[in-house]
Amino acid sequence: QNIKIGFNIPLTGDIPKVGEESKFAGEMLLAEINGQGGLDVGGTKYKLEFIYEDNESKAESAVTAALKLIERDQVLAIVGPNSSKQAVPAGQVCNDNRTPMISPWSTNPDTTKDRPWVFRAAFLDPFQGPVAADFAIKTFKAEKAAVLYALANDYSKNLAEIFQADFNSKKGDGAVVAFESYGDKDQDFSAQLTKIISSNPDFIFLPNNYNEVALIVKQAHDLGWKGPFMGADAWGNSELMTLCGDDCKGHYFSTHYAAAGAKGATKEFIDKYNKLYGYQPADVAALTWDAINVVLAGIQNAGKITGDLRKDRKNIREGIAAIEEVKGITGNMKFDAEGDPIKCAVVVKINDAGEFEFTESVCP
Amino acid sequence: MSLLEIKSLTQQFGGLTAVSEFSTRFEGRELMGLIGPNGAGKTTVFNIVSGFYKPTKGKILFKGKQIDGLKPHRVTAMGIARTFQNIRLWHDMTLLDNILISQHYNLGYNLFDLFTRNRRYMENEKRMTSIAMELLEQLNLVQFKDEKPRNLPYGIQRKIEIARALSVKPDLLLLDEPAAGLNSSDVQDLIQLIRWIHNEFDIAIWMIEHQMAVVMSLCSWIQVIDFGKTIAEGTPDEIQNNPDVIKAYLGDDNI
C-alpha cells in the first residue's frame, strides 16, 4: 500500500514558477524517500505517491483540485495551495472534508484561522513586518520609510500594512512618508517611485515578489535613488540575482533561510536541487520541502496506517498538531493552536558576490 | 389641418447644404413624387422627415404636431413609415418576424407581462400575429412567411419592405426608389401594387423615383429639387415639359 499525498499547486496561470518549484521539491523528496525503500511508519515501510494537481492560480480551480484529490485520489493529506487567494478557499474545503492540508507559502491568517485541519509552513506577516521595521531602524538609522507594494497581491498588501503600522508606532505617525501601490502584472513603476523619491525616505520597503523587485530596484536607480532597500521573504529566490544583477547588491531582506553560507541539510537541499533542475531553489521550494516533511512527520506520529481513510486522515491531523519540533531547512518549527508555525526569521544581505548572506536571526 | 407640412427645411453637412429651404404639404391622401438629379437631397429630405437627421433649420408638422427632432421610432409610431433606397430587411429572420417586429410601436404589454406570459401578453401577441398575417395575405406573401428574406428574389424583397412599412398602419408612406433594380415587367407589377395600396389603405404616399414610367403614371403631383432647392412642381404633364427640369434632370434619350 502506498501513502498518497496530493499537491494543489499553480502550474499554470499567474505564478507558474511557484508551482514548478513546489513540484520539483516534491519530486526530489519523493525520489529520496522512495529510494530508501519508503517511509517508515510504525515499523512498516510505505512507498510514497505524490499527485500534482494544477489550480491555474484560480480560486475555483483550487477548490475543484482539492476536491478531486480528496474524493477521487483519496489522498491522506494535501500540500498547497501556495498563494492565499487559493489557499483560503481550498483550506475551507479541506477543513470541511476532514483532510489535513498544509500550505507552504500562504501568509493570510484566514487560511488557518478556525480550521483545525489546516496548517502552514511559512511564518505570518504580523511577525515578519516588525522584523523588517526593527532591522531598518537599527541598521539604516531610519526615521522615515517608504513602501511600495502590490495592491492585488494580498501577501504584499498585508505585509505592507503591518509594516506601516509597526513603523509608525515606533517612529511616530507619519514616519512612513510614502505608501504606494501598483497593480497586477505592472511593469512600470516610475510614477510611484517618483513620488517616493520626492518624499525623501531613509529607505524603501519592498514586500514584493522578486521579479517585480528586480524591475523596481532598477527603475529607482534610473530615477536617481541611491538609498537602501529592505525586502521580505518573497525576495528569496535565486532568480532575483539573474534578473536584478548588480542593482540589488548591498540590500537586505528578511526571509526563512539564507542560502549563502547555509549549512547542513539546507545546503544539501540547495545543492541537490541546483544539480537536478539547473537553478537555485527559491524559498517556496524550501518551504514546500518542509511542508512535506511536516506531513510525513505527522504520519509517523500517527504511528500506523489503518487503511480507513477517514481514520488515517484524522490520525495524521493529530499527528501534525502534536509535532514537537520538525527540523526544517527553513528553520525548526512547531505549531501553535491555529496551525501556524512558530519559527525564526533571518535577515540576509545580498553581498557583492550576489549571494544571500546571513546577517541576523530573529526568533519569536 | 393638413396631414404633413414642411416649412423651409434646411440641412447642412459640414459646409455642404444638402437641402435648402425646402417646403411642401400634404393636404390629405395624395400620391406625390419627389424627383431630382443624383445628390439633389431627396433621400436627405426623407431622412429628416423620418427622424433620422435633425434638420439644421425648418419645421415639420404632422397632423398638426411638430415632429422634427423626434427619434425615428417615435415618428414611425405617429404614422410615418418608409422604405429604403437600398433594401434594409432583417435578412436572417423570417418574413413573419420581420413584419412582427415592426409592431413595437404598439406592443400592448410590458416586461412583467412578458416574463409571466399572462393574458395580456398572450392576447397582444395574438393580435400582432393576426395583423401581420392579414397583411401578408393582402399582399400575397403568405407562402413566404417562414422564409428568410435573404433567400427570396429581389422583387419580392422590395415588396416585403413595403409590407413591413405598411404594418405600422401609417398615414403617410415614404418610398425611396422602390423600382430601383427591378426589371421592366416587375416595374409594371410595382406600379399596380402602389396604386392598389394607395386606394386600399387610403394613405398618403410620397415617392422618390428615377424611373419616369413609375413617377409619371402614379403621381398626381410632382416636385423637382436640385441642389436641395425646389426648381419646379406640378402635374406630370407640366413637369415633363418644363425646360428647367429637362435640362437638369430628364435629358433626352437619344444615345
Binding site: L151, D186, E239 | -
Partner: protein
C-alpha cells in the same frame, strides 16, 4: 512638485511609447481586417523572447562583439523572425476562417486562443523561469534640472515617434497603404481593382508583427524581466489605447498610446496609487462616451 510633474511626464512619455508601439500594430491589423488581433500582445512577448535568444547567442559567440553591434543585429533579425510568427498565425489560424466567411468575432476569439497557446506553450516548453535580458548598451543617466532621464528611455520615445511617421507615410501615401484601408471597408471589391488581397494582408501582418517585435526588444531592454505572460496585460491595455484613439486610425493609436501612458502615470502621481485603474479607466470611458468613435476615429456613417 513641479519637478516631479516633469519627471512624471517624461516617464509617461516613455511608458506611453510602448503602448503606442503595440497599439500601432493592433490598429494596423484592425484597420485592414477589422480583426482585433488579441494575440498581438503575445506576439510582442514572442518578440522579446526572440530578441533574448538572439542576444544570448551573439553574446556567447566568440566573435567578441560589443553590445551596440549586437543590438544593431538583433533589432532587424528580431523584427523579421517575429513577423514570421505573426504571418504564421494568419496563415494557419485566421485565413482559413476568413475564407469560410466566418463572422469576424470568431476570428477574434481564435486570435484570443492563439494568444493563450503562445503564452502557455512558452511556459510549457521553456519552463517557468523568467529570463533576464542582458544589458546591451551602457546605461547613461542624464540629469536635467532634477529630472532623470536615461539614454534608453530617450531612445524608446524617439523610436516610437519615428515608427509613427514612417507608418503614417506608408498608410496614407502609398498605394499599398490605400489598398489596406480599402480592404477594411470592402474586401469584395479589392480583387476587382487588380489588388492581390492576400499579399496585402500578409504585408499588414508583417508590418504589425515586426512592430511588435521592435516593441519587444525595446521593452526587454527597459524592463529586463521576461516571462510568458508579459504581453497579456500590456496587450489588452494597448488595445484599449488604440480604440480610445480611434481604432483603425494610425494617428489614433499613436496618440491613444501616449494618452493612456500619461493618464495612468498622472493618475498615480496625483491620486493615491491604489485608485489608478479606477481613475484611468473612468477617464477613458468618459472620453468614449463623449466621443463614441474615439479621438480620431470617424464613424462609419451608414447611408440610408
Amino acid at each position: 512638485m513641479l519637478d516631479s510633474i516633469f519627471q512624471n511626464l517624461f516617464n509617461a512619455l516613455q511608458w506611453g511609447s510602448f503602448y503606442s508601439l503595440i497599439a500601432l500594430g493592433y490598429t494596423l491589423v484592425y484597420g485592414v481586417l477589422r480583426l482585433i488581433n488579441f494575440a498581438h500582445g503575445d506576439i510582442f512577448m514572442v518578440g522579446a523572447y526572440i530578441a533574448f535568444f538572439l542576444a544570448m547567442f551573439f553574446l556567447q559567440g566568440d566573435g567578441g562583439l560589443s553590445g551596440p553591434v549586437i543590438l544593431a543585429m538583433v533589432i532587424p533579425l528580431t523584427m523579421i523572425l517575429t513577423s514570421v510568427c505573426g504571418v504564421a498565425l494568419e496563415r494557419i489560424a485566421y485565413r482559413p476562417l476568413r475564407r469560410k466567411g466566418a463572422n469576424r468575432l470568431y476570428v477574434v476569439i481564435t486570435a484570443l486562443m492563439c494568444g493563450l497557446i503562445l503564452e502557455n506553450g512558452n511556459l510549457a516548453f521553456l519552463g517557468a523561469s523568467r529570463k533576464s535580458f542582458p544589458e546591451l548598451i551602457d546605461k547613461v543617466v542624464y540629469n536635467i534640472g532634477s529630472i532623470s532621464m536615461t539614454n534608453l528611455k530617450i531612445g524608446v520615445i524617439l523610436s516610437s515617434i519615428l515608427v509613427y511617421f514612417v507608418l503614417n507615410a506608408i498608410i496614407s501615401k502609398t498605394r499599398i497603404g490605400m489598398a489596406m484601408r480599402g480592404i477594411s471597408y470592402d474586401k469584395f471589391a479589392i480583387p476587382l481593382m487588380g489588388i492581390p488581397i492576400d499579399t496585402i494582408i500578409m504585408v499588414t501582418f508583417i508590418l504589425g508583427s515586426s512592430l511588435a517585435g521592435l516593441a519587444g526588444i525595446l521593452f526587454a531592454m527597459s524592463y529586463p524581466v521576461l516571462d510568458p505572460f508579459m504581453g497579456a496585460l500590456i496587450g489588452w491595455k494597448a488595445f484599449i489605447a488604440a480604440v480610445v484613439g480611434g481604432i483603425g486610425d494610425i494617428k489614433g493609436a499613436f496618440v491613444g498610446g501616449f494618452l493612456l501612458g500619461i493618464v495612468e502615470i498622472l493618475a498615480m502621481a496625483i491620486f493615491p496609487s491604489t485608485f489608478r485603474d479606477l481613475i484611468a479607466f473612468s477617464i477613458l470611458m468618459i472620453i468614449l462616451v463623449i466621443k463614441p468613435t474615439g479621438l480620431f476615429g470617424i464613424a462609419k456613417s451608414t447611408k440610408i
